[in-house]
Symmetry: C2
Subunit: 288 residues, 2 copies
Amino acid sequence: MKPLPLLRNQEVLEQPANQETLTRRYTDEALKFISDHRDRPFLLYLAHTFPHVPLYASSENRGRSRRGLYGDVVEEIDRSTGEILAALRSAGLERRTLVMFTSDNGPWLIKNQDGGSAGLLREGKGSTYEGGMRVPGIFWWPGRIQPAVRIGLTGTLDILPTLAALADAKAPADRSLDGIDISPLLLEGQSLPDRPFFYYRESDLYAVRKGPWKAHLITQPGYGDKNPIRHDPPQLYNLEQDPSERFDLSAQQREVVADLLREVERHRSSFKPAVSLLDATIAAPTTN
Amino acid sequence: MKPLPLLRNQEVLEQPANQETLTRRYTDEALKFISDHRDRPFLLYLAHTFPHVPLYASSENRGRSRRGLYGDVVEEIDRSTGEILAALRSAGLERRTLVMFTSDNGPWLIKNQDGGSAGLLREGKGSTYEGGMRVPGIFWWPGRIQPAVRIGLTGTLDILPTLAALADAKAPADRSLDGIDISPLLLEGQSLPDRPFFYYRESDLYAVRKGPWKAHLITQPGYGDKNPIRHDPPQLYNLEQDPSERFDLSAQQREVVADLLREVERHRSSFKPAVSLLDATIAAPTTN
């Protein structure tokens, strides 16, 4: 395997990348970007490498937390986030900047102590049980978003319609979007409209949620056993009363199961699969 | 089985007890006790029946939480606690009253949705894994205890020495106490002295903890399988890096295991079992 390079656009900065420096360097780039763009609207997307395994913390942050290397890494990301919020404040941008903090999946359980924890949620990364799918969602916008815990079923599919609405921009109209504008929840604490949520693994629909109810059509551990298990009737859990998905209620709640299966049919009949960007022929990017 | 009576001292108030009223009635008794004793020092021990199974919430509180009956019950206890704190404030006692809120064990897992959850901790009530042993510890004393999260290894064995120290009273000197005065942690955030912690199931020593390390000599699920499993070498977990007790490090950390086993020997050689109060002949209580 070739050693991993660190790139800026198409240029290799170093190879192998010194991963202990990544959180610091990404943060410095973000701070510079904010400073360079303070006079006009901008979108900054900062995708940290960590806490993806293999974990690296800077020498300055290593050995500081009680939770071992994983804790050191998380604390370093927390410090990075604090520096970014401070930079927005000192640039006078905090009242016209929405900051979102989230993740793409739950803990990578087979990585043991380095993989994190989903707390009371079942399973982890790669699985469509809640431990694989539920992630933090933190929104910061002084003066517009009140400090509060909001309860609502939302996900990263909602980011595009939400940002478009807040920026008074038009979302693309040549396709139907799966997400909705959640700014009424963020800004005013309004309830989100009821809607079913669909859980995919690659291109297969594994589960559906509506309100507190979640039905699993197929389950499979995140890693390890490669064989998906099809459930007929689907497993049924009440996520409010049983957030750990321990007690299958499909035999007692046949009408709920039937309703969720109707949602699946509606979804399937309305759904046009697109070619994955990974499978499409992509024009070579131009170097800057 | 005879229906459960509700007693005041030796007097049966009703049989069967109407359990939906218990949290309300216990709270009212506590409020009256505070009001009756506001002019002199007092100890109020309020041991709620719930969230022990079977669960009952008052009609006023039933169906209000998102977590089902268990959530309703917990919310009713939370309201009860709020009423007691408010009563202390309105009696002008809050600056000379220490309030402690804790529990006796983790969740009763075989009771499914009614049994609660230990979050990321392993196992539950009846087990000496952390899910059975770790409980909330909340201390309230306006003006003396600052709002803060304090980290220290402590348990209900420490309550007697702590209350004795704070009340300037002498703890009993005719026996050696297993607990220590933790008021330096509560009042000033000082670290507690390092000390080993011993986990018993009935009269058998199952586990020992020192700092982040916990060794299990014997394990047994809280309920179900009745056969204790003896471990030689003991299972060894680092509770700071692995709070869920998933990764046995006994093979890699032989010196830590040896140190913990020396603590067990020291403990056993210093320990004189007492007759259980349940086995002793107890004088019949006098009625008041």
